[in-house]
Point group: C2
Amino acid sequence: MNISTKFPVAVHTLILLSVSPPGTATSEMIASSVNTNPVVIRRITGMLGRAGLVEARAGVAGARLRKPLADITLLEVYQAVNGMGEGELFAVHDSPNPNCEVGRNIQAAMNPIFIAAQRALEQVLEQTTVADVAGDISQLEGIQLPDFFAVTHS
Amino acid sequence: MNISTKFPVAVHTLILLSVSPPGTATSEMIASSVNTNPVVIRRITGMLGRAGLVEARAGVAGARLRKPLADITLLEVYQAVNGMGEGELFAVHDSPNPNCEVGRNIQAAMNPIFIAAQRALEQVLEQTTVADVAGDISQLEGIQLPDFFAVTHS
DNA sequence: CTATGTGAAACCATTCTAGTTACACGGTCA
DNA sequence: TGACCGTGTAACTAGAATGGTTTCACATAG
């Protein structure tokens, strides 16, 4: 299977938070841009909040960024919503036969590779910030960042 | 979620095929080492067969390797059983709002990162062969490779 | 011809994802 | 204060994927 959409949705959300006037980016407004349900967005902002990336107080509209986008790497976002321990990206078949030389060692033999592969993936994510993604979007639009405030959410 | 156990099971299977006398490594015997059902093993050898890594004729016991383990990278095994196109490791949230500057560009902006991250993971897998894993196992056992034939499957 | 083992289909329990409804509670503002 | 929003959270749902299991047709070896 593939890695859940929570990751791109979280990035999408962070960018909207950064370009929206304070108090504007409600979960409902973000949901209309992402094309999903407001509760899905709140679940994600909740995870981003527990990771210290945003601050959302119950009752007050719209979450606030706790860091500028340039200080948030994609890895932080990925880990906030996907929470994977070291090497846990890959599943292992449990309880292989301990009476077999291969069975009793296969996990120990493959584990370093799982860790290295996962780390390689994470290092790529670490080298890009959410601000880079936002910059790419503004380039794709051929507009300046301030114009982002003219967001239409029908 | 994490990447399915089919990958480590496939590696496990290939190693058993290589260390077992011809006609010995039936799906049932492999299943007893992996600790699963023989049909699960046959599904995997089927995928390995379609990828050209093994040859299994219906009716004759045990699949045969079509290449030495040293010529099979972990990436080949991974792709044989996990079949992911470029960038497909990451899921995207579909149909974001085209009326929003962020929504209509988020996918294009994130796609290169998805591709780069997946490729980084795959490159790690490409640098290791199944023979390397088998070698690690024999090191862990502190034995020589020929002794692998003394496999006990109770 | 019989034993055995593979390939494949069908079915099931479990788990995860994402969507949805519902509701209590915090804040804001009239 | 009290009405109104919006958040946080729980609970439920549909759908998909994984891994296990049974069953059976068929190929092959002896």
